[in-house]
């Protein structure tokens, strides 16, 4: 087990991922503080931020003490000095899909959070400009959610369906 360079705040569940990265499972309240403490202990860069919709895959493996929710925001932090990655997976409920933004810690998450908002409808509180980024502004729905259909190619000589 690779040790984290920082002792995770009390209550944060950690586990080793499949690819030898440490994974942390903070709650939504612990999330921002955990990322802040990791940043102060050498993780200079937020390499990636994305969301996953676990609607049709509820039986995923999670360590004890983590309550599975529909959405998960996955953050990959990178430490250039330690040459180490850490993954943070925070569970986000379906009814109020909102987490704190990381913009004040890593300004580079700005576009990534907008993408997660656009495609999954997860609200990042205190984000400076939470608008859609890939889809048009008047688009309805969040395409990467599992209950959003794949769409179809309209058949020629038939009345074309709507935009989706």
């Amino acid at each position: 087990m690779i040790a984290l360079p920082v002792t995770a705040p009390a209550g944060v569940v950690t586990a080793e991922g499949l690819d030898a990265h440490v994974a942390c499972f903070p709650t939504r309240e612990q999330y921002h503080d955990l990322v802040a403490s990791l940043r102060d202990s050498g993780f200079e860069m937020c390499a990636d931020l994305c969301a996953v919709d676990y609607l049709t895959h509820p039986g995923r493996q999670l360590p004890d003490g983590v309550v599975p929710e529909r959405f998960e925001v996955v953050v990959n932090l990178l430490s250039l000095s330690l040459k180490q990655r850490v993954r943070i997976r925070v569970q986000v409920g379906e009814h109020e899909p909102a987490v704190e933004t990381l913009f004040d810690l890593y300004p580079g998450t700005e576009a990534m959070e907008r993408e997660a908002f656009d495609l999954f409808g997860i609200i990042f509180l205190h984000h400076p400009d939470l608008t859609r980024i890939l889809m048009p502004e008047d688009w309805e729905g969040h395409p990467l959610r599992k209950d959003y259909g794949v769409g179809r190619v309209p058949v020629q000589f038939k009345e074309a369906p709507g935009p989706r």
Binding site: G17, L18, D19, H21, D40, E44, M45, C46, A47, D48, C50, V52, D53, T56, H57, R60, Q61, V74, N76, L78, L80, K83, R85, R87, F103, D104, Y106, P107, G108, T109, E110, A111, M112, E115, L119, P128, D129, T131, R132, I133, L134, M135, P136, E137, D138, P143, L144, V150
Partner: protein, 449 residues
Amino acid sequence: MTDSIRAISRDEMLVAETSEGAQELKLRSATEPDELRREVGAVLRVDGRTLDPSSIDIERRDDETMIINMGPSHPSTHGVLRLMLELDGEVVLRTKPVIGYLHTGMEKTGEELTYVQGATNVTRMDYLAPITNELSYSMAVEKLLGIEVPTRAVWIRMMMSEINRISSHLVWMATNGMDLGSTSMMIYGLRERELILAFFEKTAGLRLNLNYVRPGGVAADLPDGWQDDVLVICDTIYARTFEYDELLTGQPIFRDRMIGVAPMTAEEALALSVTGPLLRSTGVPWDLRRSMPYLAYDEVEFDVIVGKYGDNFDRFAIRLNEIRESIRIVRQCVERMPLGDYRTQDPKITPPPRARIDESMEALIHHFKLFTEGFHVPIGEVYSAVESPRGELGCYIVSDGGPKPYRIHVRAPSFVNLQAVPLLMRGGLMSDTITVISTVDPVMGEVDR
């Protein structure tokens, strides 16, 4: 006279509404200080935090400045990038990239394709460096499967991704030259790239979207006489890099437009999660090939090219020298290419050879299962990252145990690097926006996915 002209007034709109609404750059009077902070690219870390919004110049009024639109269909935006610029005369104050014009939902498509088909999907994201896309995806799938790739496949992958890096940088040299008015550089860059594309065609059968690196190995062994082809590529391009030096590096007009323009510091680059040549130009020696070696990069010799000032010229020099370093790696690959299988021999993952299907029932069944259902991948989630010509290209795959990825997310370096554009353009001249877009080198297929 006017009475005799036949005319009719048309009230309905002829042009569909093209506004992107809230995604666009708004007037200063309609902008929150928080958003202004982001748009001026003022994401500098002061005392470890972002810049205080109150310290931004908000004394300018809307009637002093002008918001103009650039793109999405502008030849220098390298695809369909739209930039909204706020200008004070010739000086750029705020910039906002508006993207999404090439969004085709490739991550959603990836969830509908099996792991066998997935490589054809990801290869279309960064169309200038398809091998690195496939590599990142394949390495993620292999990590989930827990399989090892034969040594020859590893070296073939490494050689191909370096050749691909050369061709990608050549296109960059070509388009950058064109943006600056050096059309001969464009012709030379594309001419040299043609050598590489011909070799790709010989090896993989295709020129652009190769689908060559697949989970389990590569699609085909290298063709007969590949050493000669590769060495011709190396010799030709290595010699020509010095011609580019003569053409551009010492050229006064080129230098005037590149040196000292649009600088960035290491702190800003790290804060913005910028990777690749942009990060290295600021002096941070971060190259995943060296820092977190994958494939066999720890067995070959090469230098990580690092800049100092983080300006346009550093980014140019880094890419030019990375071509030379890639040639060095390719030469070592030619010398040390091991013998053996070019893909894993696990029949559950790689299809059987054509000849086996005729004689073996088992092979036929495996072939049928692979191309109808695909292989099942154990439950788990994995992130794999490789150094693409543009930076860290990551692939995050969640598997639910089925034959299709439950979620496939690609961390596209261009998408993230594009956030540096407002910062780089701030305070620069309008004419320098062209060079900034060019040296950031976004590939819109990857930005929008």
